[in-house]
């Protein structure tokens, strides 16, 4: 039953008619406004700064990979979507400034829930959830992205990995190397 008594008689009729006419005027007015629709495949709205899209494995400015293969991301992952297999760096073939690097780095996007815990766990800020959100696959195998697909391109003016470096130029397990700012 009604909680508020509605007015009866002529005042009630007037209220009803007024309400209907006001409503009709409002919707008709909307017709002359610009549609808010974004025609998606042609027009793409930029994502928000903290948007969590597909992961990227970052590099330092000199081209070395930030990932040191510690697998903390895999440990932090609640969906068990990340698989990391580490291998030793040598001065002849150096991938990262640390002791080890990720020889295999796979993320299964059928499992990933884009929570960003891997980002939080990473000691070298190597893995970052970026802005790409158009992730669709036609079979299960292609939904697993490997390190080649996740790694960002080598910055201009630097060497790709593996690099040959001078002996003992990197001898820390976890590098404290920072990009020059």
């Amino acid at each position: 039953m009604d909680t508020m008594p509605s007015p009866r008689g002529l005042s009630g009729l007037w209220m009803a008619v007024k309400g209907i006419v006001e409503g009709l005027a409002t919707t008709l007015g909307m017709m002359f406004e610009r549609p808010v629709t974004i025609a998606y495949p042609e027009v793409k709205r930029p994502v928000r700064p903290r948007f969590r899209g597909r992961h990227e494995l970052k590099r330092y400015d000199n081209g070395l990979e930030k990932c040191i293969g510690c697998a903390l991301c895999a440990a932090a992952c609640p969906a068990d979507a990340i698989f990391v297999e580490a291998a030793e760096n040598t001065d002849e073939a150096r991938f990262s400034p640390g002791e080890r690097y990720a020889r295999t780095y796979e993320i299964n996007y059928l499992r990933c829930i884009f929570c960003g815990y891997c980002e939080d766990a990473c000691p070298t800020e190597a893995i970052v959830l970026e802005s790409q959100y158009e992730l669709s696959y036609t079979d299960r195998r292609t939904a697993i992205l490997g390190r080649e697909q996740l790694l960002v391109p080598v910055p201009p003016g630097s060497q790709p990995t593996p690099q040959r470096v001078a002996p003992h130029s990197f001898d820390r397990a976890i590098p404290d190397m920072k990009d020059p700012e």
């Binding site: 409503g23 009709l24 919707t27 008709l28 909307m30 549609p35 808010v36 025609a39």
Partner: protein, 335 residues
Amino acid sequence: MPFDTAFFVEPLIKSVVLVLGLTLGFAYLTLFERRVLARLQVRIGPNRAGPGGILQPIADAVKLIFKEELTPSAADKVVFVLAPIITVVPALIVLGVVPFGPTVIIFGRSVRLALADLNVGVLYVLSITSISIYGIVLAGWASNNKYAMLGGIRSSAQMVSYELALGLSWVGPILLANSMSLEKIVEAQRSLWFVVWQPLGVLIFFIAALAEVNRAPFDMPEAEQELTAGYHVEYSGMKFALFFMAEYIKMIAVCIIGATLFFGGYLGPFVDRLPWLGPLYLLIKVVALLFVMVWVRATLPRIRYDRLMAFGWKVLMPLALLNVVVTAVVLVVIG
């Protein structure tokens, strides 16, 4: 009198044109509704299939044709198949008595742009529209589904209540034209449209017509939130498409009848010299009325079922009766 082949061929051609025209009209009314509704909701609407979405109805039709036809195992098979046909046929034949334009000359033969000029045309329209309720009730019954059944029962109750007001609202134009023939009613509006004499009648007609064709805010039989989809919940594929078609063709039919009874039908400036303007004027009037229907749908929420019945019996019917009495008395007094 020499044997005239065209005498038999002419109604046949007219019927085919009418049925095909209505089917095409149904297809593009769905697009019209979706586009207009979208703009009223500050959206764009379907614009992908063809330029401006012009091929969308064809895409929909192809999809529906290739959909699986399901018949519930507990359904009454014969009635289940028959129900959509019973619903769609009256919607198609109801416009047989409506004039679409004045007499035109085609291949040296003067052709009246109407299938038939029945002297009780209004009565015919009213009785034919009532038949399609049977289809809806039978669909609800044959589906053997409680929601479909409730939808069917609701629609019959609603249509019975609103048909009285609808019929009474048509009495005004009948009295003013002194005829039940739609042709004569249109001709009687040559000087002034009946909407001027019957403002209340038009309002009652429009509200009752919305209820009659189950449009929002009176779309009780298919209230999604309460009845999932109402009487056609068990229907799929082309059988569903037939219900859809009936609903939209009824919208068109009701708008054509409304335009004919109250807005001068095919009449408009220069229609005597250029008779082909007649159907065009009618089309413009019908599109305007259809726009109002979509506009109302975009604005008003569905009203509660008991309110719907109360409004029909306690407000609309007495008002329509009053309208008839006043019209009749005024006509007698003026002469």
